[in-house]
C-alpha cells in the first residue's frame, strides 16, 4: 500500500489557505451589505470606524474558527479507482469521486505554499458546478502521484510513463515537453487590455467606490459654494470640460493598465503543453496554477476577440467542458483560458480540437434578420414615442429622438448581422457572433445533446427558421437560417450524435 492509500490530513499551512479563501468568500458574499446601492452610505453614516473594525474582526474570527474546525475534520484517501474525502463542519460528509468521472485536474501553488513545496489539488467532475474535491496544502510529490494515478486509471498515461523526479532546485514545472504555446509578457499585457475584464473592474470600481465618489463630489460642491459665498473666484487652469475629459481619460488609462497588469499576474509565464490525451496549462505569478484537461472531456472551444482586441490583433481561446464556466473573472476561475493569441496562432484551435479545420469563410444568415430587427425596433421606438406623447404631449423633439434612435440602430444591426455566420468543416460546426468584437464557437457535432428548430409567423412566411443546438456546455443558436439548410444541419447533427462512440458525458 502506498503512502496515498492511507487516510491523510492536510498540512498545518493549509489553515492559511482556508482562512484566506474563507475571508474572500465572506467578502464576496457580503460585499453588497457594505457597498453600492446607497447601502454603503447608510452604513458608513450610522457606524463609526471603530464599529466597522469590530464587524471586520468578527468576520475574521468566524473565518479563522470555521477554517480550524474544517481543517481538523478534513481527511482524504486515494483508493484503487477513486478518491475519498471526509469533511464538513455541521454536517459531516464523506465523498467518493471515481477517477473515470474526473474531467479536470488542477494543481495550484499560492506564493505562501512555495517555500514548503505544498500545492492545492482540485478535481472537477461534469456534474458539479464548482470543484468537487479540493485538497489545499498537500505535498507536491503526493499531488503529482495522485494526478498521475488518476490519469493512469483513466487510461491516458501508462504508469511507466510517469515522469522522473525533478532534480533538486529545478524549476517545478510539471513536464519537460516544449510548450505548444507560450505567449510573451507583452502579449499577456495586451490580452489584459483587450479582455472584457476591464469593464468588470470598472463595474466593481463604481460599485465599491461609488459612495466615495459621491462624497468627493459633495466635498467639491461645498468648497465651490463656500468660495462663491466669500466672493472668491475659482480659477481653473483649463476649462471644466477639458478637466472632465482629462479625468475620464486618466481613469480609463488606469483601468486598462490595471487590467493589463492583472492579466500579467494571472497568466504569468503561461505555458500550454500536450501530453498524450491531456492538455496542460501552467500560469500565475502569486498563485501558480497547473490545469490538466482530458481531451476526451473537451466538448468544444470558443475563440474570442473583443472590440479592443480587434484593434490590437489579440485573441483568446477557451476550452469548453460540460457546464464549464467560460468567464475569466475570479468567480469563473476554473475556465481553461489560453490568452494572448495572434491571428497566426489560431491554428492552435485545430490542434486542441482534434479533427477541427478552421474555416476559411463563414456562411451568412438571411439578410432578413437585419430588416426584421430594424422594423421591430422602429415599431418599438414609435410605440414608446406615442405613449410618451400621450402622457407628456407631442413636440418636434420626439421626432428627432426617433430619427436619432433609428440612425444609431441601423449600423449596429448591420454589424450584428455581418458577424453572424456558420461553417461546417470535417464534422465540426463553427458559429460566429458578435457586434464590435466576435466570438467563434467550434464543436464536434458528436457533442450535440438536442436539436431545436424554432419559427415565428414572420420566419415561416419567409421560409426561415432558428436552429438551436444544445451542447453539454450550453446552447448555441443560429437565427434566420433558410429552412432547408437548417433541416440538413439538424439532420446531420442528429445522425452524428446518434452514431457517436462517446455517448453520455
Amino acid at each position: 500500500m502506498s503512502e496515498s492509500d492511507d487516510w491523510q490530513r492536510l498540512s498545518p499551512l493549509a489553515l492559511v489557505f482556508l482562512i484566506v479563501s474563507g475571508l474572500q468568500r465572506q467578502v464576496r458574499e457580503n460585499l453588497f451589505l457594505f457597498a453600492g446601492a446607497g447601502a454603503g452610505a447608510a452604513f458608513t453614516d450610522w457606524l463609526g470606524l471603530r464599529e466597522l473594525a469590530l464587524i471586520a474582526l468578527v468576520f475574521v474570527l468566524f473565518s479563522v474558527l470555521g477554517a480550524m474546525l474544517y481543517h481538523r475534520r478534513f481527511r482524504f484517501r486515494m483508493e484503487a479507482d477513486a478518491v475519498r474525502v471526509r469533511r464538513g463542519l455541521v454536517e459531516h460528509k464523506e465523498l467518493r469521486v471515481r477517477f473515470a468521472r474526473v474531467q479536470n485536474i488542477q494543481l495550484g501553488q499560492p506564493f505562501y505554499f512555495r517555500p514548503f513545496n505544498l500545492v492545492r489539488f482540485s478535481l472537477q467532475t461534469p456534474g458539479a458546478s464548482d470543484k468537487e474535491v479540493e485538497l489545499p496544502g498537500i505535498d507536491r510529490s503526493l499531488a503529482e502521484t495522485m494526478r498521475d494515478r488518476i490519469s493512469a486509471a483513466r487510461g491516458e498515461l501508462e504508469e511507466t510513463e510517469a515522469r522522473p523526479e525533478p532534480e533538486e532546485g529545478a524549476d517545478p514545472e510539471p513536464l519537460e515537453q516544449p510548450a505548444v504555446f507560450a505567449p510573451s509578457s507583452g502579449r499577456l499585457f495586451l490580452h489584459g487590455l483587450s479582455s472584457n475584464q476591464v469593464w468588470v473592474i470598472a463595474g466593481l470600481f463604481f460599485y465599491v467606490g461609488g459612495n466615495l465618489l459621491e462624497r468627493f463630489g459633495e466635498r467639491v460642491e461645498q468648497v465651490a459654494e463656500r468660495a462663491l459665498e466669500n466672493g472668491q473666484a475659482i480659477d481653473l487652469p483649463v476649462s471644466a470640460w477639458a478637466l472632465g475629459a482629462g479625468a475620464l481619460l486618466v481613469f480609463l488609462l488606469i483601468l486598462f493598465v490595471l487590467s493589463g497588469l492583472l492579466a500579467l499576474v494571472r497568466f504569468w509565464r503561461f505555458r500550454l503543453r500536450e501530453r498524450g490525451d491531456r492538455v496542460i496549462a501552467l500560469a500565475g505569478l502569486f498563485d501558480r496554477r497547473e490545469q490538466t484537461l482530458r481531451r476526451a472531456k473537451v466538448t468544444g472551444l470558443q475563440l474570442r476577440q473583443s472590440a479592443v482586441g480587434r484593434v490590437l490583433g489579440c485573441w483568446s481561446l477557451v476550452l469548453r467542458q460540460t457546464r464549464s464556466s467560460d468567464h475569466e473573472t475570479p468567480a469563473g476561475g476554473n475556465a481553461f483560458v489560453v490568452p494572448g493569441l495572434r491571428q497566426d496562432d489560431l491554428a492552435l484551435a485545430e490542434a486542441l480540437l482534434p479533427g477541427a479545420v478552421f474555416p476559411g469563410r463563414f456562411q451568412r444568415i438571411s439578410p432578413r434578420y437585419r430588416r426584421f430587427a430594424f422594423s421591430r425596433l422602429l415599431l418599438g421606438l414609435l410605440l414608446a414615442l406615442v405613449l410618451a406623447g400621450l402622457l407628456f404631449g407631442f413636440d418636434h423633439w420626439s421626432l428627432l429622438a426617433l430619427s436619432v434612435g433609428a440612425l444609431v440602430a441601423l449600423p449596429v444591426l448591420h454589424l450584428r448581422f455581418r458577424q453572424w455566420g456558420w461553417a461546417l468543416e470535417e464534422g465540426v460546426l463553427w458559429v460566429r457572433r458578435g457586434l464590435l468584437g466576435q466570438r467563434i464557437d467550434g464543436f464536434d457535432l458528436e457533442q450535440v445533446q438536442q436539436a431545436r428548430v424554432t419559427s415565428s409567423p414572420y420566419l415561416r412566411r419567409h421560409d426561415l427558421v432558428g436552429l438551436e443546438l444544445v451542447l453539454p456546455q450550453g446552447v448555441i443558436g443560429l437565427p434566420f437560417l433558410p429552412s432547408r439548410p437548417a433541416a440538413e444541419l439538424a439532420n446531420r447533427a442528429l445522425a452524428t450524435a446518434e452514431q457517436a462512440r462517446f455517448h453520455r458525458v
Binding site: R101, T454, E498, R504
Partner: protein, 199 residues
C-alpha cells in the same frame, strides 16, 4: 489499387469495413417523421391552466375597487384587458393543445409544440441521462402525464413531453429506459458508484 483487404483472409461473419460517403439528402429527415398528436384531454387542460391565471387577474381588477378598505379607483374598462387576454390565451392554448405532436424514431424522440412561436425539439436517446414521469393535481384530474428527459446540458437541455395520457407516458418512459440501458448499460452501472453520504 489493392487496399490490403484482399490479402487478409476474412473470417466467416466478419463485417467488411466500409466508409462510403453519405449524401446529406440521404440522412434521415426529422421533418419526414409522422407525429402523433398528444391526448385530446390536453387541450382543455392547457386552456384551463392558461385561463385560471388571467381569470384571477380579471377578478382582482374587478374586486379591488369594491373592497371596503381599498381607496382605489380603476378605469371602468380596465377589467376588459385581462378578459380579452384570457380569451386570447385560452384560445391559443386550446389550439396549441390540439396541434402538439410527438414521435419516437429508432434513435430519438421528437416533440413539437407552440402555435405562434413553434418549436420542434429532437432528443437523441444516446444523450438521455435519465427519464422520469410527473403529473400535477390538474394533470391527474385530466388523466395526463409528463415525460421528462434529462441530459448532460443542464436544465436548458432537458426535454419535457407534455400532454401524454398515462398509459402512453409510461410506455414512452419504459421504451426510453430500455434504449438507454441497451446503449450504455455499463456506463449507467458505473455511474451509480459515485456516492455522497452523511457520516
Amino acid at each position: 489499387m489493392d487496399n490490403g483487404s484482399a490479402n487478409t483472409p476474412r473470417r466467416p461473419g466478419q463485417a467488411v469495413f466500409s466508409n462510403r460517403q453519405v449524401p446529406l439528402a440521404e440522412l434521415p429527415d426529422y421533418q419526414a417523421a409522422k407525429l402523433d398528436l398528444v391526448s385530446l384531454r390536453f387541450a382543455p387542460y392547457a386552456a384551463l391552466t392558461a385561463g385560471l391565471l388571467w381569470l384571477g387577474l380579471a377578478a382582482a381588477v374587478f374586486i379591488a375597487p369594491r373592497l371596503p378598505f381599498a381607496d382605489v379607483t380603476l378605469p371602468p374598462g380596465l377589467v376588459l384587458v385581462p378578459l380579452v387576454a384570457l380569451i386570447w390565451f385560452v384560445a391559443v392554448a386550446w389550439i396549441d393543445g390540439r396541434r402538439r405532436g410527438w414521435a419516437l424514431r429508432e434513435h430519438d424522440l421528437i416533440y413539437r409544440s407552440g402555435l405562434i412561436w413553434q418549436r420542434t425539439a429532437i432528443l437523441p436517446f444516446a444523450r438521455i441521462q435519465h427519464v422520469e414521469t410527473a403529473s400535477g393535481p390538474l394533470e391527474r384530474l385530466f388523466g395526463l402525464m409528463r415525460v421528462k428527459c434529462f441530459t448532460a446540458g443542464g436544465m436548458g437541455a432537458d426535454l419535457s413531453v407534455e400532454g401524454l395520457d398515462r398509459a402512453s407516458a409510461r410506455k414512452v418512459r419504459q421504451h426510453l429506459l430500455e434504449q438507454i440501458r441497451d446503449e450504455d448499460g455499463m456506463d449507467d452501472a458505473a455511474r451509480g458508484e459515485d456516492e455522497e453520504a452523511g457520516g
